[in-house]
């Protein structure tokens, strides 16, 4: 295909995209002449170029479209949706012809007469629509001194000035070659018509860069001649060449560094600066505004509206936010898909909206902004939200989750099922979307480029997706780590902090059944030995020295990676691994460091999987992933043996420390076992019974803290730490056991920590009991959380009543129960929790109770007095203490 035709195709395709967007904008605001002029100009350019290249079919369709647009422009015809649809259809036809042209290099035969006739009829005002209303202003008013009005310029022509329309007419009659028609100039600027006339005729109109169109539409003229079209391959090559230049420079620098007084030093310094500068600028050429990926969206939304009778406003914010074009290409399709979904499934038809008390026009908001090294894109709609019950049914039907398990999941957890492969709830397959490929593909595409997607949806109120993607894939900031003599690059985006361990450092690594853990700020962090994870050959052991733990967060999982050294941070140019190495787990690419050596780049996701708590693997693990953020589902459990029976488990979140103490250091005082702990005596009891204490050797003790008072639970053996989906079977009625759960396929007793707290700290508890600190109501849907929290709160000296739902809670109200504080979970159903809190606040009897929200994330809950993380026991107890004491003192004052 000849170059000219190729260039025409590229350019026309871009122009058509702009026309789509502009037409939709124009339809909603027919009085915007700048938009109309822009459309007219673009169509005109296409028509002109077609004529020049000898493409009669295209020319005829474009011409008919232009005629109709011309009538709009002259205000001879009112703008109606029907007419705009007609124009859009002609644009679609042009696109079709272009596809054929691209494939074969020649126009394919076809009949466009229907479209052309339709456009002509519309241009003659014969469309079923009403004839043009009387224009508000006369089409060609006459100025005070007899000047002629120019619609393009929006002002009176100066004496001797020629109107743009006339110029165009002149061009059309005389010019053999098509000419870029100057865009509508704005009043404050000098007349540009002559400039347009002076513009040298070119075979292809260079004015029509899409970016410039935007600029022109905004009235920023003058940029037109400043841009040229460059093949992206050229930019890629340029980028590679610059990378090589950087390496060469680094080599030179290293050579000169060895010389003391080199005449090369100064020029090399300059070379170094210039290279850095060059690299920076070449990077910039790859950046594009995110808006260019959005250009098709208004048209898509408009078409969905026409087809479904919905009214939708698409709001776009932050179009100018720039990101790497490679990333841009990769998010285009997922974004389009999400907007389609929102428009098709999210936004309700106007009647439904009105009946729900919403404005009839739905809003889809698409917003982008920078945040650190990332770009955040929000896709927000005020539509129906996700139907949790329907998703739940579907998830069970598809076997993604068991019915019992699903019943215990929060709405948020359920909603995340839409990201499961092949999941689609669209009950009818529409023309637009709902073909079964859906959000799973979106999620995968976003994750492939190191991004993440979050979802928030309230049934009836709308859905918000938050997409976080790196600005560029080409360059990332990385930590250069050393493990067993080899260097690796770790992308810093997942790194939270570095902790020095061993060799006299403050922290040290503990092992629980060969599983290394780190106690960091009173939390146990599971560790992964990088050398083991990568199966590196162990080096001959040298003396004990300080090592490092790289604390990472992937999804909701926090873990540490143990390395020997941390060398440096470096901006690295990411190169993909060769096809032959694509399947290699735990690695995501390779890079060349400043010293010319190659290092492989670690994949945080892969490492997280290696930890055994894969945040996301295929199939049903979508459920597992989401569970980490909430109380139920995936739990970190400490498995141990104590006394008779099988393996027992305690939630890791309740355990403060793990101690191994000399058995002889556990002493008896006052008939009870105590041990020294942090300079004080701590009561210890054995989970298997008092007689089970070891008499010699090391005695493992789990330390729980109960307010200020720690207590120890001695066990026979610590087995392991696991991260598993736990469904609690609440059958146990033995004291000290809250139930059994399947852990790693084996029935495991879940111990009742509250019971042991009570046993161990009997006298404290009794003292507290005697006082009866207050009455607490716990509204918590998750069986697991309810059973865990109840004994804890009890042990702290409160009387507690628990209810799974607000409805159950009101039943207690009917029964005449009164409370000092009400704890309610807000994660499972934020809306219901908020309503419940409001009702409590308004209730005559219960309004006196402190309202405390329980959240997995410790977020905001405005209807509550306080909000605490349910995993943070001490915070919870402090909040209760404060609330109850405060209430009491107010009560006393009153």
């Amino acid at each position: 295909m000849d170059d000219l035709l190729q260039e025409f195709l590229t350019e026309t395709a871009e122009n058509l995209e702009v026309i789509d967007t502009e037409l939709v904008r124009f339809e909603s605001d027919p009085s915007n002449e700048a938009t109309l002029n822009n459309i007219f100009r673009l169509v005109h350019t296409i028509k002109g170029t077609c004529g020049f290249l000898g493409l009669p079919r295209l020319e005829a369709v474009a011409h008919a479209g232009e005629t109709l647009l011309g009538r709009f422009r002259d205000k001879a015809l009112a703008v109606t949706p029907e007419a705009v649809t007609l124009v859009l259809r002609s644009i679609d036809r042009i696109k079709e012809i272009l596809v054929g042209l691209e494939a074969t290099g020649a126009e394919q035969p076809g009949d466009d007469s229907a479209i052309i006739e339709g456009l002509q009829a519309a241009a003659e005002g014969k469309l079923g629509a009403a004839p043009a209303p009387e224009p508000q202003a006369p089409a060609h008013p006459v100025g005070p001194n007899g000047e002629r009005w120019d619609a393009d310029l929006q002002r009176f022509l100066r004496p001797g000035e020629v109107s743009l329309a006339e110029l165009e007419a002149a061009f059309q009659n005389t010019a053999v070659e098509p000419i870029a028609v100057a865009p509508a100039p704005k009043p404050p600027e000098p007349a540009v018509a002559p400039a347009a006339a002076a513009a040298p005729p070119k075979p292809v109109a260079r004015f029509d860069e899409p970016e410039e169109d935007d600029a022109i539409a905004k009235g920023e003229r003058g940029s037109a001649a400043q841009t040229i079209r460059v093949n992206v391959d050229v930019l890629e090559e340029l980028m590679n060449t610059v990378s090589e230049l950087v390496l060469t420079r680094n080599q030179l620098l290293q050579m000169v560094r060895g010389l003391n007084d080199s005449e090369f030093k100064a020029p090399l310094q300059r070379l170094s600066n210039i290279t850095a500068d060059l690299q920076d600028r070449v990077m910039k050429t790859r950046m594009q505004p995110v808006g260019s990926a959005w250009r098709k969206l208004p048209r898509i939304v408009r078409d969905i509206c026409r087809e479904t009778g919905k009214r939708i406003e698409l709001r776009m914010e932050g179009e100018a936010t720039e990101l790497d074009r490679q990333v841009l290409e990769l998010i285009k399709d997922p974004l389009t898909h999400m907007i389609r979904n929102s428009a098709d499934h999210g936004i309700e038809p106007p009647e439904t909206r009105i009946s729900k008390g919403k404005p009839d026009t739905g809003v889809i908001r698409l917003a982008a902004h920078h945040e650190g090294g990332h770009i955040i894109i929000l896709v927000q709609d005020d539509g129906a939200g996700l139907g949790t019950s329907r998703i739940r049914e579907k998830a069970i039907e598809k076997g993604l989750v068991g019915a019992a398990e699903a019943a215990g999941m929060t709405d948020q957890q359920i909603q995340r099922f839409i990201f499961a492969p092949g999941f689609s709830t669209a009950s009818k397959i529409t023309n637009l979307s709902g073909r079964g490929v859906g959000m799973d593909v979106v999620k995968t595409n976003i994750e492939v480029i190191g991004g993440s997607i979050e979802l928030q949806s309230v049934e009836g109120a709308g859905t918000t997706f938050r997409i976080k993607i790196p600005l560029t894939l080409a360059i990332v900031s990385a930590l250069i780590l050393g493990a067993r003599g080899q260097r690796f690059a770790m992308p810093q985006t997942s790194v939270l902090e570095l902790v020095r361990v061993g060799g006299g450092a403050e922290h040290k690594i503990d092992t629980i059944n060969r599983t290394p853990v780190l106690r960091l700020r009173e939390k146990l962090l599971p560790l992964l030995e990088l050398g083991d994870a990568l199966q590196l050959q162990p080096l001959p052991t040298t003396q004990e020295r300080a090592r490092y733990v790289v604390v990472m967060q992937v999804g909701a999982t926090r873990f540490g990676v143990v390395v020997d050294d941390v060398h440096d941070t470096e901006e690295i140019v990411v190169k993909p691994l060769a096809t032959l190495l694509r399947g290699v787990p735990r690695l995501s690419g390779a890079t060349i460091l400043g010293d010319g050596s190659v290092v492989v780049i670690l994949d945080p996701n892969g490492l997280c999987e290696a930890l055994g708590s894969a945040p996301e693997t295929v199939d049903a693990n979508a459920a597992a992933e989401i569970a980490t953020v909430s109380s139920e589902g995936r739990q970190s459990l400490l498995l141990f043996r104590a006394g008779s029976g099988g393996v027992k488990a305690a939630p890791l979140m309740l355990i403060t420390r793990l101690e191994e103490t000399d058995a002889t250091s556990i002493e008896r005082a006052d008939g009870r076992a105590v041990m020294k702990y942090r300079g004080a005596l701590m009561p210890v009891i054995h989970a298997g019974g008092d007689h089970m204490f070891r008499t010699e050797g090391q005695q493992p003790v789990l330390v729980f803290s109960h307010g200020d008072q720690p207590f120890g639970l001695a066990v026979d053996e610590i087995v392991d730490i696991v991260h598993e989906d736990v469904t609690l079977d609440l059958a146990a009625d033995r004291p000290g056991v809250i139930g059994a759960a399947l852990v790693r396929g084996k029935a495991t007793e879940m111990i009742d920590v509250g019971y042991y707290v009570e046993q161990a700290t009997a006298d404290w508890s009794q003292r507290n009991r005697a006082k009866k600190r207050g009455r607490v109501l716990l509204v918590e849907g998750s069986d697991f959380a309810r059973t865990m929290l109840t004994p804890l709160i009890q042990a702290a000296g409160y009387e507690i009543a628990a209810a799974p739902t607000p409805d159950d809670a009101w039943r207690l109200h009917e029964a005449g129960a009164r409370f000092d504080a009400i704890l309610a979970d807000v994660d499972a159903n934020p809306a219901a929790a908020a309503t419940f809190a409001e009702q409590v606040a308004a209730d005559a009897v219960w309004s006196g109770a402190a309202r405390i929200a329980l959240s997995g994330s410790g977020g905001q809950a405005p209807q509550f007095d306080d909000c605490v993380r349910k995993t943070d026991r001490s915070q919870l107890l402090a909040a209760l203490d404060y609330a109850v004491t405060a209430k009491r003192s107010w009560g006393n004052a009153a």
């Binding site: 590679n240 990378s243 090589e244 390496l247 060469t248 080899q486 990568l534 199966q535 590196l536 190169k575 691994l577 060769a578 096809t579 032959l580 190495l581 290699v584 787990p585 735990r586 690695l587 390779a590 890079t591 060349i592 010319g596 050596s597 190659v598 290092v599 492989v600």
Partner: protein, 158 residues
């Protein structure tokens, strides 16, 4: 393939190289370049015949250890100083690590014999012929096939 590589007098040019004292050849048309290796970065968890990655004038090259690929005794010492035969495939650069690279020979296709059927499995796939030369036997290797996983690893993966 062979036809396109024939020069006017009917011969095909082969780059010859040595691995563990044995003599091999690869068609010149399949070879991108030949270079000396400075340092190789191992790739953890990769296929066993992958020697690692190396920096060749700013490009990252994936190095395949010919000895391991052919099931021959491992090298003693590191890769530094070894030679590599550069191959381009689908825009990616690979290097086949060999012990030494010899001269380029023009060999008549008529004297090429098929590789014997009883060759070791890891050889059968990649050996595309044998030349009986005065200096000894020269095994012609299909360089492109050398990049594919050795049969043993495929079996292991399955």
């Amino acid at each position: 393939m062979t036809d396109t590589n024939r020069s006017l007098d009917g011969g095909v040019e082969y780059v010859t190289f040595e691995i563990d004292g044995r003599w091999f050849g690869a068609q010149v048309s399949d070879v991108h370049d030949v270079f000396a290796i400075q340092a190789v970065t191992p790739v953890p968890l990769a296929r066993p015949d992958v020697a690692g990655l190396l920096n060749l004038r700013g490009r990252i090259v994936t190095a395949i250890d010919a000895r391991r690929r052919l099931g021959m005794p491992a090298r003693t010492g590191g890769y530094a100083g070894a030679m590599a035969i550069g191959v381009e495939r689908e825009g990616e650069s690979y290097g086949l690590v060999v012990d030494a690279v010899g001269e380029v020979l023009r060999l008549d296709a008529d004297i090429r014999e098929d590789a014997p059927g009883n060759l070791d499995e890891s050889w059968r796939e990649v050996a595309c012929g044998v030349f009986r030369l005065p200096k000894g036997l020269l095994v012609a290797l299909d360089i492109a096939k050398m990049l594919d996983a050795p049969p043993s690893t495929i079996a292991a993966a399955a």
